[in-house]
Structures are given as structure tokens and as C-alpha cells.
């Protein structure tokens, strides 16, 4: 059997065991035991097929049909990034290239008293027990094939720790660049963000691609939010037409904490985002915003979970999409209200504009409510551009394409305006305006 015909799963399993055999002492560490268990889980599950309810509308056949180099070296320098037009930012900036921390491009400006920002591998070397106390703790209940795979291979990513009562003034921007100029590349960044009691921080994860070969990103971020803490977390995907992305963000919130998430998918061949929030405290507030613009044959799938486990908390969700050409969109929003979670407020809305008869949007709200004194609502709409509004604008001299762009930009505005890192919001406004004007 030639190497090309071995499927991706078989190869990854073999890879894992080959690595394990050279680990020596580390193989017995607590962290490695988690990895080994995750590998067994992945081996058992295999990559999902559309028979799996969670992957019914998102077929990964294409994603797993080729091989990727997960250890690709990149000679990336600052000059290589010029084409990506990344704005200058008054922020902590950390670069990962093909999943590996890139110190030369990174810049930490916040003081170490306020926040620890280091690569996961560095953090583990310095303090293995601290890293292990967080690693996979949020995911262990429910590992799917991709998160298991990430856990098994987790090497690098960010480790952020914010002590109690610290408000981090400068945002933290994590830039993940896939350098696919020479070959198909794979990366599996693993991020841990631990926010102490009454601590506050703004974070962004930005995903970009260089080059035209395939890239496959399988990322996992675990966010631990302490009591009364506040976290704003944005994920911006502006990858190539040949980029495959599966990402999971797993969040746990404690009493009186606040969490804002904004997930914006500007471009990419295949995107699956899982955003799972456990509201494990009282009087928590979780806000989820999302925006996506697939065109061509692109595929964007957002799966979200708001799991209310304690009373008196609120979750609020708004996802919006504009689909063109033969694009496919999927939204699956689950709300769980556990028996103890009385007085829960949970709202969910997904609104879409479908601009072509060949584009499709599948939306599925899923509410499972086991408490009796709760307020929950959900709604989805899928429609076209309002022709009456178009005619109104055209009758004032605004051309049809310009009127369409204005209406679509307005459609996006209530999501974009929620992004509180100014440089990220301004970047998005520019890119979205260009994207809407270009068609």
C-alpha cells in the first residue's frame, strides 16, 4: 500500500504511537494520560460522517481526502505578511505559524503582573501542574473526533492566565497563520485562557492563510471565567479559498461573570465553529454574535451551545449570514436549561439573506428545558434582499449594486457594532464593505 492511499485517520493514529514511543518519562505524565485517552477516543470515533447528527449538513469527506504536513517548517517573516494587510494594533500580539509559536513576530506589551501570556509549550515546561490543571478540563465530558484529535496532538498554542482583580487594558490578539505556500499544511493549536475572579480581558483569534495549497486548522480554545470576571472573545476567520477549519471554543462561566463572543467568518473553503458555553454560575450573562459570508462553493457551519446549569442567568444569541452563489450555511443552536436553572433567560436568533437560488441555509434551533420557570425564545429567518427597500434607494439615484451593498452592510451592522476591540471592528468594517461591494 503506497503512502498516499493510507487514509488520514490511520496515518494520524500511527503518527501518535510513533511519537509516544520516543517520549521516555513524559509518557507517564498526567497530561500525556489525557492525550492517550483522547487518542483512543479518536480511534474509536473516527472522522464524522453525515450519519452523525452533529455533522448531518457538514461533510468532511473532502477535508480528509488529502494528507497534510502537521510539522511543516515555515520561513515566514514579517515582510511575508504584507499582502495580508494586517492593521497595526495597540495590543498584545502573538503569532502562531502552522500552529507553532513565532516569537520574532510577537509582541507583549502588558505587564506580567496583569497577565501571563506564553506559548503552551513554554508554560508547560515552567509549570506542568498548572497547565495540567486546566488542560482538557472543560472538554473531558464530551470529546468529539476533532477535539479528541486536537487533545491527542496538542503541542502549542497560547496559555493565558489573568490573576484575580486584574483588568487587562490592552487586548490580546492571537494571529494564526497557515503558511501553505509550499505544501498542504495542518495545524492543531490548543489555547488555554484562565481568567481569575473579577478579572477582565478582551481577546481575539484571527486566522489567515498564505499561499494556495490546502490548509487544515483544527483548533481548540478552553476559556475558564472566574466569578465576576468579564471576557470578550472574538474569532475572525479570513482564510484562503483552500482553507479547511474546524474549531471548538469551550467556555465555563462562574457566578456573576460576563462573556461576549463574536465569531466572524469572512472567507474559507470549509468552516465549522463550535462554541460551547457552560453557564455554571448564577447571574451570568453570555452573549454570542456571529456573522458569515460564504460565496462560491464555500461552507460555513456554526454550532453553539448555551448550557444553563444554575439559576438566574441569561444567554443571548444573534447569528447573521449572507449567502451567495452555491454557498452552504449551517446554524445549529442548542439551549439547555437544567432542572436547577430556574429563572433562566435564553434568547436565540439566526437571520440570513440568501442571494442565489443555488445557495442553501440549514438552521436548527434546539431547546431542551428541564426547569419550569424560564423565559426562552428562538427564531430564524431566511430571506432575500427587500425589493421595496432596493427600489426606494434606487429611486434616489443609488445604483442597484451600491444599494445592495448598503443594505447588506446595514444587515451586518448590529453584529459588527458588538465588537469592542476598535482595531478589529474597523478592520471588519473595511473588509466587509469591500466584500459586499466586489460582487
Amino acid at each position: 500500500m503506497s503512502i498516499e492511499t493510507i487514509d488520514l485517520k490511520t496515518r494520524l493514529v500511527a503518527d501518535f504511537h510513533a511519537r509516544e514511543s520516543v517520549l521516555n518519562g513524559e509518557a507517564s505524565s498526567a497530561l500525556h494520560q489525557k492525550k492517550r485517552a483522547a487518542m483512543a477516543q479518536f480511534d474509536k470515533l473516527g472522522f464524522p460522517t453525515p450519519k452523525n447528527e452533529e455533522w448531518k449538513y457538514s461533510n468532511v469527506k473532502d477535508l480528509i481526502s488529502v494528507s497534510y504536513n502537521f510539522n511543516s517548517d515555515s520561513s515566514l517573516e514579517l515582510a511575508d505578511l504584507e499582502d495580508l494587510k494586517i492593521p497595526a494594533q495597540d495590543a498584545n500580539i502573538v503569532y502562531f505559524v502552522n500552529g507553532h509559536y513565532h516569537p520574532a513576530l510577537s509582541r507583549i506589551i502588558s505587564s506580567q503582573d496583569q497577565i501571563t501570556i506564553s506559548s503552551l509549550s513554554e508554560a508547560y515546561k515552567k509549570n506542568p501542574s498548572l497547565v495540567n490543571s486546566y488542560f482538557n478540563e472543560l472538554l473531558k465530558e464530551d470529546q468529539d473526533a476533532f477535539t479528541s484529535l486536537n487533545t491527542a496532538f496538542a503541542q502549542d498554542g497560547i496559555f493565558i492566565h489573568i490573576p484575580d482583580n486584574q483588568t487587562v487594558e490592552h487586548p490580546v490578539i492571537l494571529r494564526f497563520v497557515s503558511d501553505a505556500r509550499a505544501e498542504n499544511v495542518g495545524s492543531q493549536p490548543r489555547n488555554i485562557i484562565a481568567v481569575g475572579k473579577n478579572a477582565h480581558v478582551k481577546l481575539a483569534e484571527a486566522f489567515r492563510t498564505l499561499g494556495g495549497a490546502r490548509s487544515f486548522t483544527n483548533s481548540v480554545t478552553e476559556i475558564f471565567i472566574g466569578e465576576e470576571a468579564g471576557v470578550e472573545y472574538y474569532k475572525v476567520q479570513n482564510e484562503s479559498d483552500n482553507a479547511y477549519h474546524v474549531g471548538t471554543t469551550q467556555v465555563r462561566m462562574l457566578d456573576r461573570s460576563q462573556f461576549y463572543a463574536g465569531t466572524v467568518t469572512l472567507n474559507g473553503r470549509f468552516t465549522r465553529n463550535n462554541l460551547n458555553i457552560i453557564l455554571d454560575g448564577e447571574r451570568c450573562e453570555a452573549h454570542m454574535y456571529g456573522l458569515y459570508f460564504p460565496d462560491g462553493t464555500q461552507h460555513v457551519d456554526n454550532h453553539t451551545v448555551a448550557d444553563h446549569r444554575k439559576p438566574n442567568s441569561e444567554s443571548n444569541e444573534l447569528y447573521k449570514g449572507i449567502l451567495r452563489d452555491k454557498a452552504k450555511g449551517v446554524f445549529n443552536g442548542k439551549i439547555f436549561v437544567r432542572q436547577d436553572a430556574q429563572k433562566t433567560n435564553a434568547f436565540q436568533s439566526c437571520k440570513n439573506i440568501v442571494l442565489s437560488t443555488e445557495a442553501t441555509m440549514n438552521t436548527k434551533p434546539q431547546l431542551e428545558i428541564y426547569a419550569d420557570d424560564v423565559k426562552c425564545s428562538h427564531g430564524t429567518t431566511t430571506g432575500q434582499i427587500d425589493e421595496e427597500a432596493l427600489f426606494y434607494m434606487r429611486s434616489r439615484g443609488i445604483s442597484r449594486p451600491e444599494a445592495m451593498a448598503l443594505l447588506m452592510f446595514a444587515f451586518c451592522a448590529d453584529v459588527v457594532s458588538q465588537i469592542k476591540i476598535d482595531s478589529v471592528r474597523e478592520y471588519l468594517e473595511n473588509v466587509i464593505a469591500q466584500k459586499l461591494a466586489s460582487k
Binding site: G397, A410, D414
Partner: protein, 252 residues
């Protein structure tokens, strides 16, 4: 300025306009009256280029150009303005941003440079005074949550900003109380000039107390069945439309 010749139009296969003829010269104000369902709003819509209507015959020549093949935005750039009976609410687009886009798209069409932000604001402030448009309305999303009166005022304000050669007011008086009617009418009157013409589409005479027309036309069953001086409007107010209908039936 505007020459409508045997204009026929239908919607979903049903003929609404059955041969309209109308000549309008610069400076004139023409009122189009008629009972409900006679085709008044259809005429306004067809002139502005609403695409649901299919023009099945005739011609409309504006300033020497046949406009029937022009897109709505092109007609606007040529100088035609329709004040809507039901202005559309557009969430997320501010009135000011909308108008700036409109002004500069029209300027581009005419080969003029775009106005910069300062020039535009200065112009807008002057025009806003004409119809007592509050600054706060300009910054709000276009017509969203506006009262009926505010929406109509916004229409006239947009007209003042765009300075059309031909303004078509479609039932601008509907839903207005007497104060709003006065403000809107004053706005329209202040824009009257020897170069501009106005078509006032209305069901009632009361708007014509404020915007005094040069000619009154009665539209009935898709045709102009009677034309006359402004006094005709008073006669219609007094006697209703039945005598006109009777006249038409007698002839027809």
C-alpha cells in the same frame, strides 16, 4: 419637459394604465386626481421606474430622452424624484449616510466630483431647515420608527437635497395632520421655480389649498378623462367623482 404619449402599463397581466397622454412644461404644477383604483399611484410608480409594472405601450420622453428603458437610479440622476406614499423603513442605514451616497452617485452620473463631508453637511443643514427636519432624525436609521408626518417630511427633505427637475408627490398628504401638511407644503412651495415641474398625485383637494396647481387632471379607469384649471379640484371636492364617472360611462 415631460411628454407622456399613449402610455400603457400592466401588473400581473392586468392593464392599469390604458393610454395616458400628458404634457408638462418647466415651472408647472399638475395635480392628478381620481377615485381609488384609477391608476394614480401606478402612473407615479411607472414614471419612477418601479419594475413590477410592465410598460406595454406608449412613450415617456423627459428632457428629450426616452426614459422607459432607464433604470430607476438613472431616472433619478436625470432629475426625476418620487416622494413615496409609503416611505420605506431601512434599519441600519442612517438618513444622512443614505443621502450622501445618493448625492454622490448622482454627481458621479453627471460627471461631477463628489462632495466632501463638510460641503455635504453644510448643504444638508440648509435644506433641513426648509422642512424643519431635526438633526437627530438625520442621524437615525432611515425612516425607522419615524411617525407618519416625519416620514413625509423626510421625503420632502430628500427632494430638497436632490433638487430634481421633476418632482412627483404620490399621496403626500395621506396620513398628515394639518400642521404637518402645512410644513410639507411649505417645503414643496419653497422648491418651486421656473425650471422645475411638479406632479401632485392626490385623492383629496385639501393639499391643493397649499400647493396650488396650474392644471388638474382626473384619472379614471387608467385614462385621463378630464383636465382643467385649479378650479376643477374645487368642483371635485364639492361634487365627488360620480358625475365624472357618469360622463365617462355616457361617452364610453
Amino acid at each position: 419637459m415631460l411628454s407622456i404619449n399613449d402610455l400603457r402599463a400592466s401588473i400581473e397581466g392586468k392593464e392599469i394604465l390604458k393610454g395616458i397622454n400628458l404634457e408638462i412644461k418647466p415651472g408647472e404644477v399638475h395635480a392628478i386626481m381620481g377615485p381609488n383604483g384609477s391608476g394614480k399611484s401606478t402612473l407615479a410608480s411607472v414614471l419612477a421606474g418601479r419594475e413590477e409594472y410592465e410598460v406595454t405601450g406608449g412613450s415617456v420622453v423627459f428632457e428629450g430622452k426616452d426614459i422607459l428603458d432607464m433604470a430607476p437610479e438613472q431616472r433619478a440622476a436625470e432629475g426625476i424624484f418620487l416622494a413615496f406614499q409609503y416611505p420605506v423603513e431601512i434599519p441600519g442605514v442612517t438618513t444622512i449616510n443614505f443621502l450622501k451616497t445618493a448625492v454622490n452617485e448622482i454627481r458621479k452620473y453627471r460627471g461631477e466630483n463628489p462632495l466632501d463631508a463638510a460641503q455635504f453637511l453644510k448643504m444638508v443643514r440648509e435644506k433641513a431647515k426648509l422642512v424643519s427636519m431635526n438633526d437627530s432624525l438625520l442621524k437615525r436609521a432611515l425612516n425607522e420608527g419615524f411617525s407618519g408626518g416625519e416620514k413625509k417630511r423626510n421625503e420632502i427633505f430628500q427632494m430638497a437635497v436632490l433638487e430634481p427637475k421633476l418632482a412627483i408627490l404620490d399621496e403626500t398628504d395621506s396620513g398628515l395632520d394639518i400642521d404637518a401638511l402645512r410644513i410639507v407644503s411649505e417645503g414643496v412651495n419653497s422648491l418651486r421655480s421656473p425650471e422645475r415641474a411638479t406632479i401632485v398625485v392626490t385623492h383629496y383637494q385639501r393639499l391643493l389649498d397649499y400647493i396650488v396647481p396650474d392644471y388638474v387632471h382626473v384619472l379614471y379607469k387608467g385614462r385621463i378623462v378630464k383636465s382643467g384649471p385649479k378650479e376643477l379640484a374645487l368642483e371635485l371636492e364639492e361634487k365627488g367623482y360620480d358625475w365624472i364617472k357618469a360622463e365617462v360611462e355616457a361617452v364610453g
